[in-house]
Symmetry: C2
Subunit: 122 residues, 2 copies
DNA sequence: CGTCAGTGACTACATGTGTAGTTTCAATGA
DNA sequence: TCATTGAAACTACACATGTAGTCACTGACG
Protein backbone atom coordinates (compact mmCIF):
# COMPACT_ATOMS: atom_id res chain seq x y z
CA UNK A 1 0.00 0.00 0.00
CA UNK A 2 2.39 2.70 1.21
CA UNK A 3 4.49 3.28 -1.87
CA UNK A 4 8.17 3.15 -1.23
CA UNK A 5 10.14 6.31 -1.94
CA UNK A 6 13.87 5.83 -2.43
CA UNK A 7 16.49 8.26 -1.17
CA UNK A 8 17.04 9.86 -4.55
CA UNK A 9 13.31 10.13 -5.11
CA UNK A 10 12.95 11.73 -1.73
CA UNK A 11 15.22 14.59 -2.74
CA UNK A 12 12.88 15.26 -5.64
CA UNK A 13 9.83 15.11 -3.42
CA UNK A 14 11.29 17.69 -1.06
CA UNK A 15 11.37 20.15 -3.93
CA UNK A 16 7.78 19.46 -4.87
CA UNK A 17 6.65 19.70 -1.28
CA UNK A 18 8.15 23.15 -1.12
CA UNK A 19 6.37 24.36 -4.24
CA UNK A 20 4.12 22.73 -6.80
CA UNK A 21 3.11 22.25 -9.50
CA UNK A 22 6.43 22.51 -11.28
CA UNK A 23 7.78 21.39 -14.63
CA UNK A 24 10.53 18.80 -14.79
CA UNK A 25 13.05 21.46 -15.64
CA UNK A 26 12.03 23.60 -12.70
CA UNK A 27 12.31 20.64 -10.37
CA UNK A 28 15.72 19.79 -11.77
CA UNK A 29 16.89 23.37 -11.30
CA UNK A 30 16.06 23.12 -7.63
CA UNK A 31 17.40 19.64 -7.11
CA UNK A 32 20.71 20.48 -8.73
CA UNK A 33 21.37 23.02 -6.00
CA UNK A 34 21.65 20.10 -3.61
CA UNK A 35 22.61 17.08 -5.66
CA UNK A 36 24.91 16.97 -8.59
CA UNK A 37 22.51 15.20 -10.92
CA UNK A 38 21.74 15.68 -14.58
CA UNK A 39 18.39 16.83 -15.87
CA UNK A 40 17.78 13.34 -17.23
CA UNK A 41 18.26 11.79 -13.84
CA UNK A 42 15.69 14.07 -12.29
CA UNK A 43 13.27 13.29 -15.09
CA UNK A 44 13.73 9.59 -14.53
CA UNK A 45 13.01 10.02 -10.86
CA UNK A 46 9.90 12.05 -11.66
CA UNK A 47 8.70 9.32 -14.02
CA UNK A 48 9.20 6.67 -11.40
CA UNK A 49 7.36 8.72 -8.83
CA UNK A 50 4.54 9.28 -11.30
CA UNK A 51 4.43 5.55 -12.10
CA UNK A 52 4.01 4.88 -8.39
CA UNK A 53 1.34 7.54 -8.18
CA UNK A 54 3.34 9.45 -5.61
CA UNK A 55 3.29 12.52 -7.81
CA UNK A 56 0.54 13.50 -10.20
CA UNK A 57 1.01 14.91 -13.67
CA UNK A 58 -1.04 17.51 -15.42
CA UNK A 59 -0.53 18.34 -19.05
CA UNK A 60 0.39 21.95 -19.73
CA UNK A 61 0.71 22.26 -23.47
CA UNK A 62 3.74 20.35 -24.52
CA UNK A 63 5.12 19.70 -21.07
CA UNK A 64 3.92 18.32 -17.77
CA UNK A 65 3.37 19.87 -14.40
CA UNK A 66 4.19 17.66 -11.45
CA UNK A 67 2.59 17.84 -8.02
CA UNK A 68 2.90 15.62 -4.97
CA UNK A 69 0.00 13.28 -4.33
CA UNK A 70 1.35 12.31 -0.94
CA UNK A 71 1.47 14.79 1.93
CA UNK A 72 4.89 15.35 3.40
CA UNK A 73 3.43 14.83 6.83
CA UNK A 74 1.95 11.48 5.92
CA UNK A 75 5.21 10.40 4.42
CA UNK A 76 7.15 11.46 7.50
CA UNK A 77 4.73 9.65 9.75
CA UNK A 78 5.06 6.42 7.80
CA UNK A 79 8.81 6.55 7.62
CA UNK A 80 9.18 7.56 11.24
CA UNK A 81 6.92 4.83 12.48
CA UNK A 82 8.81 2.30 10.42
CA UNK A 83 12.08 3.62 11.74
CA UNK A 84 11.06 3.55 15.38
CA UNK A 85 9.51 0.11 14.97
CA UNK A 86 12.51 -1.47 13.33
CA UNK A 87 15.19 0.04 15.48
CA UNK A 88 13.64 0.85 18.80
CA UNK A 89 10.89 -1.71 19.19
CA UNK A 90 8.26 0.84 18.37
CA UNK A 91 8.97 2.95 21.45
CA UNK A 92 9.99 6.57 21.12
CA UNK A 93 11.60 6.84 24.51
CA UNK A 94 14.54 4.57 23.69
CA UNK A 95 15.10 6.61 20.56
CA UNK A 96 15.32 9.84 22.50
CA UNK A 97 17.43 8.11 25.12
CA UNK A 98 19.77 6.90 22.46
CA UNK A 99 20.10 10.28 20.80
CA UNK A 100 20.81 11.80 24.18
CA UNK A 101 23.44 9.23 25.04
CA UNK A 102 25.09 9.70 21.68
CA UNK A 103 25.36 13.41 22.42
CA UNK A 104 23.05 14.27 19.60
CA UNK A 105 20.99 16.42 21.94
CA UNK A 106 22.22 19.84 22.93
CA UNK A 107 21.04 21.59 26.04
CA UNK A 108 18.93 23.76 23.78
CA UNK A 109 17.38 20.74 22.18
CA UNK A 110 16.46 19.41 25.56
CA UNK A 111 14.84 22.68 26.56
CA UNK A 112 12.93 22.78 23.28
CA UNK A 113 11.64 19.29 23.65
CA UNK A 114 10.61 19.88 27.25
CA UNK A 115 8.74 22.96 26.15
CA UNK A 116 7.05 20.99 23.40
CA UNK A 117 6.00 18.23 25.76
CA UNK A 118 4.58 20.75 28.22
CA UNK A 119 2.46 22.13 25.40
CA UNK A 120 1.27 18.67 24.50
CA UNK A 121 0.03 17.90 27.94
CA UNK A 122 -2.36 20.81 27.82
CA UNK B 1 33.38 4.22 5.58
CA UNK B 2 30.24 3.39 7.52
CA UNK B 3 29.24 0.15 5.88
CA UNK B 4 25.66 -0.03 4.82
CA UNK B 5 23.49 -2.69 6.46
CA UNK B 6 20.34 -3.61 4.57
CA UNK B 7 17.03 -4.40 6.24
CA UNK B 8 17.42 -8.14 5.88
CA UNK B 9 20.98 -7.96 7.12
CA UNK B 10 19.83 -5.94 10.09
CA UNK B 11 17.57 -8.76 11.22
CA UNK B 12 20.61 -11.01 11.29
CA UNK B 13 22.63 -8.45 13.19
CA UNK B 14 19.98 -8.19 15.87
CA UNK B 15 20.46 -11.87 16.61
CA UNK B 16 24.21 -11.52 16.85
CA UNK B 17 23.92 -8.44 19.01
CA UNK B 18 21.84 -10.44 21.43
CA UNK B 19 24.33 -13.28 21.66
CA UNK B 20 27.62 -14.05 19.97
CA UNK B 21 29.60 -15.80 18.71
CA UNK B 22 27.14 -18.12 17.01
CA UNK B 23 27.32 -20.57 14.14
CA UNK B 24 25.37 -19.92 10.98
CA UNK B 25 22.84 -22.56 11.95
CA UNK B 26 22.32 -21.03 15.37
CA UNK B 27 21.80 -17.62 13.85
CA UNK B 28 19.33 -19.04 11.37
CA UNK B 29 17.42 -20.80 14.13
CA UNK B 30 16.92 -17.46 15.85
CA UNK B 31 16.17 -15.48 12.72
CA UNK B 32 13.55 -17.95 11.58
CA UNK B 33 11.48 -17.19 14.68
CA UNK B 34 10.95 -13.74 13.20
CA UNK B 35 11.36 -14.03 9.46
CA UNK B 36 10.29 -16.89 7.29
CA UNK B 37 13.65 -17.36 5.62
CA UNK B 38 15.55 -20.45 4.65
CA UNK B 39 18.88 -21.42 6.19
CA UNK B 40 20.57 -20.58 2.90
CA UNK B 41 19.21 -17.07 2.96
CA UNK B 42 20.61 -16.45 6.40
CA UNK B 43 23.96 -17.87 5.35
CA UNK B 44 24.05 -15.56 2.37
CA UNK B 45 23.32 -12.59 4.60
CA UNK B 46 26.07 -13.65 6.99
CA UNK B 47 28.50 -13.91 4.09
CA UNK B 48 27.61 -10.47 2.87
CA UNK B 49 28.01 -9.04 6.35
CA UNK B 50 31.36 -10.79 6.68
CA UNK B 51 32.42 -9.46 3.28
CA UNK B 52 31.63 -5.98 4.50
CA UNK B 53 33.51 -6.64 7.72
CA UNK B 54 30.43 -5.94 9.76
CA UNK B 55 30.67 -9.35 11.34
CA UNK B 56 33.85 -11.24 12.03
CA UNK B 57 34.39 -14.95 11.51
CA UNK B 58 36.42 -17.31 13.58
CA UNK B 59 37.08 -20.86 12.50
CA UNK B 60 35.78 -23.52 14.88
CA UNK B 61 36.76 -26.83 13.36
CA UNK B 62 34.76 -27.27 10.22
CA UNK B 63 32.40 -24.38 10.77
CA UNK B 64 32.55 -20.68 11.53
CA UNK B 65 31.55 -18.65 14.50
CA UNK B 66 30.16 -15.24 13.68
CA UNK B 67 30.36 -12.16 15.88
CA UNK B 68 29.42 -8.56 15.28
CA UNK B 69 32.30 -6.20 14.64
CA UNK B 70 30.04 -3.17 14.87
CA UNK B 71 28.45 -2.14 18.14
CA UNK B 72 24.68 -1.96 18.09
CA UNK B 73 24.90 1.45 19.70
CA UNK B 74 27.22 2.78 17.04
CA UNK B 75 24.98 1.43 14.34
CA UNK B 76 21.91 3.01 15.90
CA UNK B 77 23.69 6.30 16.26
CA UNK B 78 24.72 6.32 12.61
CA UNK B 79 21.34 5.36 11.32
CA UNK B 80 19.54 7.76 13.64
CA UNK B 81 21.72 10.66 12.72
CA UNK B 82 21.23 9.92 9.07
CA UNK B 83 17.49 9.67 9.57
CA UNK B 84 17.19 12.91 11.50
CA UNK B 85 19.44 14.69 9.04
CA UNK B 86 17.59 13.59 5.95
CA UNK B 87 14.06 14.02 7.20
CA UNK B 88 14.17 16.64 9.88
CA UNK B 89 17.04 18.87 8.92
CA UNK B 90 19.23 17.37 11.59
CA UNK B 91 17.08 18.66 14.44
CA UNK B 92 15.54 16.24 16.91
CA UNK B 93 12.83 18.57 18.11
CA UNK B 94 10.88 18.50 14.83
CA UNK B 95 11.06 14.73 14.91
CA UNK B 96 9.55 14.57 18.36
CA UNK B 97 7.03 17.22 17.37
CA UNK B 98 6.05 15.20 14.38
CA UNK B 99 5.66 11.97 16.29
CA UNK B 100 3.53 13.80 18.81
CA UNK B 101 1.32 15.33 16.16
CA UNK B 102 0.92 12.00 14.47
CA UNK B 103 -0.34 10.60 17.77
CA UNK B 104 2.59 8.29 18.04
CA UNK B 105 3.23 9.51 21.56
CA UNK B 106 1.06 8.27 24.41
CA UNK B 107 0.69 10.16 27.66
CA UNK B 108 2.97 7.56 29.18
CA UNK B 109 5.56 8.13 26.51
CA UNK B 110 5.50 11.81 27.24
CA UNK B 111 5.96 11.23 30.95
CA UNK B 112 8.83 8.84 30.27
CA UNK B 113 10.59 11.26 28.01
CA UNK B 114 10.17 14.12 30.45
CA UNK B 115 11.64 11.96 33.14
CA UNK B 116 14.52 11.06 30.91
CA UNK B 117 15.22 14.69 30.05
CA UNK B 118 15.15 15.67 33.70
CA UNK B 119 17.80 13.05 34.37
CA UNK B 120 19.90 14.37 31.53
CA UNK B 121 20.01 17.88 32.83
CA UNK B 122 21.69 16.73 36.00
C1' DC C 1 36.46 -47.71 5.19
C1' DG C 2 32.59 -45.91 2.94
C1' DT C 3 28.44 -43.09 3.42
C1' DC C 4 25.85 -39.29 5.06
C1' DA C 5 24.79 -35.04 7.16
C1' DG C 6 26.18 -30.53 8.04
C1' DT C 7 28.86 -26.51 6.38
C1' DG C 8 30.85 -22.92 3.73
C1' DA C 9 31.49 -21.47 -1.19
C1' DC C 10 29.70 -20.38 -5.41
C1' DT C 11 25.91 -19.38 -8.47
C1' DA C 12 21.31 -17.51 -9.65
C1' DC C 13 17.88 -14.44 -10.60
C1' DA C 14 14.14 -10.93 -10.32
C1' DT C 15 13.45 -6.37 -8.72
C1' DG C 16 14.98 -1.83 -6.99
C1' DT C 17 18.08 2.10 -7.34
C1' DG C 18 21.38 5.55 -8.99
C1' DT C 19 22.60 7.62 -12.89
C1' DA C 20 22.25 8.64 -17.33
C1' DG C 21 22.06 8.40 -22.97
C1' DT C 22 19.15 8.21 -27.19
C1' DT C 23 15.00 8.82 -29.79
C1' DT C 24 11.03 10.98 -31.12
C1' DC C 25 7.77 14.46 -31.53
C1' DA C 26 5.79 18.91 -31.49
C1' DA C 27 6.04 23.95 -31.19
C1' DT C 28 8.54 27.97 -32.49
C1' DG C 29 11.17 31.28 -34.80
C1' DA C 30 13.62 32.67 -39.17
C1' DT D 1 8.07 25.99 -44.51
C1' DC D 2 11.86 23.95 -42.47
C1' DA D 3 15.50 23.53 -39.19
C1' DT D 4 16.14 24.03 -34.31
C1' DT D 5 15.06 23.30 -29.74
C1' DG D 6 13.13 21.57 -25.73
C1' DA D 7 10.37 18.06 -23.53
C1' DA D 8 8.70 13.46 -22.79
C1' DA D 9 9.40 8.52 -23.71
C1' DC D 10 12.17 4.80 -24.13
C1' DT D 11 16.46 2.33 -23.32
C1' DA D 12 20.68 1.24 -20.69
C1' DC D 13 23.51 -0.50 -17.33
C1' DA D 14 26.05 -1.49 -13.03
C1' DC D 15 25.44 -2.40 -8.32
C1' DA D 16 22.38 -3.53 -4.22
C1' DT D 17 19.01 -6.44 -2.23
C1' DG D 18 15.86 -10.25 -1.16
C1' DT D 19 15.65 -14.79 -1.59
C1' DA D 20 17.34 -18.90 -2.51
C1' DG D 21 19.57 -23.44 -5.06
C1' DT D 22 23.55 -26.37 -5.88
C1' DC D 23 28.26 -28.05 -5.18
C1' DA D 24 32.13 -29.71 -2.88
C1' DC D 25 34.37 -31.00 1.27
C1' DT D 26 35.04 -33.04 5.74
C1' DG D 27 34.44 -35.21 9.99
C1' DA D 28 31.54 -38.61 12.39
C1' DC D 29 29.15 -42.89 12.59
C1' DG D 30 28.12 -47.49 11.44
Amino acid sequence: MAERISDAEHAVMEVLWKRAPLTATEVADQVVREKDWSLQTVKTLLSRLAAKAVVGTERDGRRFLYSPLVERDDYLTGVSRNFVDRLFGGKVTPLVAHLAEADELSADDIREIEELLRELKK
